[in-house]
Every structure is written in structure tokens, then in C-alpha cells.
Symmetry: C2
Subunit: 231 residues, 2 copies
């Protein structure tokens, strides 16, 4: 019997990445979960990621620190107020939300690429979504395709004769309701996850930021109930 193929899975501890981890596991991959601490306000995400990784039995889980100075200028890391309420996300003049973190997915995928080479994985899973998402430029399919093309040239695996690394985006065409349904089918315990951009001091999600609203709408459209307690 051949060994199970290995995959690096980017895991924030939120609803999407937790579902992606369950999908990768179901597809037969031995999973290496990778989480980043970049001075985000929502540190409860890190604790959620730890619980999720443990509950899903990953081979290894790394929480890597990232120098927050390189990620300044976003409502998630800086002193800008996280937008709330029915008007959803505050966007800037070019239509980009203020919660956008500069080049975040590029940095995350680059580290996944590095770690994949270290552990001998030929697969990377990332929970980007181009349907019910916040309008970040680095969640679009054309961005992922360009990263894949770059990765093919960047690494040892890009050199002829090796298995090329493959980036998987299983959620990219799914609605939030479909993501929730998929996760529930796979037995994901969403009570362990945390999506809120701005939780209370004791870790309760706000229910009003863009991430909470997308999540709550997703559960409702899926005909289910979010197991989290909100503020």
C-alpha cells in the first residue's frame, strides 16, 4: 500500500478553512495545518485553529509568527475601526474593503510553498472563495492561477521531472450555504471555529462584522443554525 499523499492546509480557524481541512482529509490527504499569527485583532482565531487541528487529527500544526510591521494599514491589524451593521463592509474608493490585509494570501501561500517542500507535500489547500466573500483581490480565481504558474517556476518541484505542486481551492465556486452544508456532511464541528473580525474580550463573536454576517447568512441559507453563541 502506498503512503497517503501529503497536503499543506492553510487553517485560520474560521468556517471556510476548517471546511477545507475536512475536505482534504476526506480526499485522503495526510494534512499539515499552517496558521499565522500576524498581530490580528481576532486572536481567538488562533485558539480556534488549534482546537480544529487537534479535532481533525492533522499530522502537524504550525502556528507561525509573522512580523506585523509588514502587514500594517488594515482594519484587522491596525487601529482602523472594523465596520459593522447592515451596510456590510466599508470599501475604499477602488472597491477594496478596509479589512484587506496587504498581500496576505500571497504571503500565506508562499509559506505554504516553503513548508510543502520541507515536508514533501505536493498539494496545498486554501479556502479562498469568490462568491460570498469580502472583495479582496487575492481571493479571485485568476490570482490563484497566477500564483500556481509562479510556483511551478519557483521551487525544486518546478524543475523538470518532479511532481509539480498543486494548489487546491475547493470552495472557490461555492456559496457560503454550500460550504456550511458540505462541512456538516463531513462532520465538521463548527462550534470550534471562529470567524469574527472583532470578538469580545471573552471571545464571543460580534454578529455584525462582515465575516459574522456572511457566516450567519450561510447557516440560515443552509437551513441550519450556527452553534456559536454571539454577543
Amino acid at each position: 500500500m502506498s503512503e497517503a499523499p501529503k497536503a499543506v492546509v492553510l487553517l485560520s480557524g474560521g468556517l471556510d478553512s476548517t471546511t477545507v481541512l475536512a475536505i482534504a482529509k476526506r480526499q485522503g490527504f495526510t494534512c499539515y495545518a499552517l496558521t499565522f499569527n500576524y498581530g490580528q485583532r481576532h486572536k481567538f482565531e488562533l485558539e480556534a485553529a488549534r482546537k480544529v487541528a487537534e479535532s481533525q487529527g492533522v499530522a502537524e500544526h504550525i502556528i507561525a509568527n509573522i512580523d506585523w510591521r509588514l502587514f500594517g494599514g488594515s482594519a484587522l491589524t491596525d487601529n482602523i475601526e472594523v465596520p459593522k451593521g447592515r451596510d456590510a463592509e466599508t470599501i475604499d474608493q477602488q472597491g477594496i474593503p478596509v479589512t484587506y490585509v496587504p498581500a496576505r494570501n500571497t504571503v500565506f501561500l508562499s509559506f505554504a510553498l516553503a513548508w510543502a517542500e520541507v515536508v514533501g507535500a505536493s498539494h496545498i489547500f486554501i479556502g479562498v472563495n469568490a462568491i460570498d466573500y469580502s472583495g479582496y483581490p487575492d481571493c479571485r480565481p485568476e490570482y490563484i492561477a497566477a500564483f500556481q504558474a509562479m510556483a511551478d517556476l519557483a521551487t525544486k518541484s518546478g524543475v523538470e521531472g518532479r511532481q509539480k505542486l498543486q494548489i487546491h481551492t475547493p470552495l472557490i465556486e461555492m456559496s457560503k450555504a454550500e460550504i456550511v452544508q458540505k462541512g456538516l456532511e463531513l462532520g465538521v464541528d463548527y462550534a470550534l471555529t471562529m470567524s469574527c473580525y472583532d470578538p469580545s474580550a471573552d471571545g464571543l463573536p460580534c454578529g455584525h462584522c462582515d465575516a459574522c454576517r456572511l457566516r450567519l447568512n450561510g447557516f440560515e441559507a443552509a437551513g441550519s443554525r450556527d452553534p456559536l453563541t454571539y454577543q
Copy 2:
């Protein structure tokens, strides 16, 4: 008078990146120098980078820590012996040197991309070189072009109507001798720099690793003398 354009310059403290910083300055850019501490054996590089950044009067210099666990499996960060001697670099079966660090330039350029957005820079300088180099896949022109294409889609600046970010590789077609000549013309003090993969405990370069040999040959071919004292 309009403000000088800003550039993020990747600065290792070695000969190439120090020359690149001088070139960016001469071209009129206000420079933001970015150095990484990733558990490399050659920590004297970091001290060299600090001295170089100070001597060249950069606007800001960040030395960012990178989780070394994500960069395992290279002679530069792991317990593999750094190759020495006339046979130069030890390569693996696919022709990649053992000093190759997984996805290193991809991670470095990704952080440069993030910081460029933070400081409002539309330019990134990196000292990759495809002539007198060590055979790393992520030093090739086609790799840089692919990263540029990805960057165009990754960030706010990639969204229509904004100035696109531009990656500059002024050394990519230069021989090591030409790089040394260029730097000397620009008044670079190469005594501040450090290229060695495996310096002594008191910071003297070995003179025998691939980086030292390329450097010494470069000075010789340029008809000059390396100001460093070797072991």
C-alpha cells in the same frame, strides 16, 4: 517638486543586494530596506545588512523574523554541511544545490509586496542574478516574470486604475565582475558586506563556499581586491 518614488529593497547584507540598494538610490528612489532572519547559519549577514542600510541612508530598515520551521531542509538553515572547495556547490540529483532554501525568494518577495503596500511603494528591488549564481530555480528571469504577473493580480495596486507594482532586477544579466564594478562606481563600501555561507565564530568569511568563491572571482575579474579579511 514631486516626492521621490519609494522602493522596497531586499537587503541580505551580501555583495549583490548591497549593490542593488546603491543602484536604487542612484536611480532616485527613497529606499525601504527589508532583511530576514530565518535561522540562517550566517547571522553576520544581519549585522552587515544593518551597517549597509545605515551607511546608505535608507528611510527605514526592517529585520523581520521568519519561522525557521517553514524553511527546513537546506544546508543554510539545517544541519547539512555547507559544501566547500574547488568543486563548488554540491548539487542534488536534479541539479539543485543543497544550499537551496525552499521557496525563499517567493517568501521574501511576498513580504516585500506586503510592505510596499504599507509604505506606498510601487517598486521592489531584488538582487537575483542568472549569470554567476548558484543554480537556484527562484533566481531565473522566467520566475521573476511569473511573480510579477501574480503580483499584478494580488494586491490593491493590481486593481484597475492604480499604479502597478514593478519588480526591478538590475543584476539579473550581470556577471559578478560587472556587479562589483558597478558597485565600486557607486561608491559602495564592500567592507561592510558579508557573503559567506559559513563564517567563523568571529565573523570572518571562509573563502571556500560557493558564495565566497563567486565573490572572490568577481573581484578578481573586475581587477579589484575584496576588502574583507578571510579566515
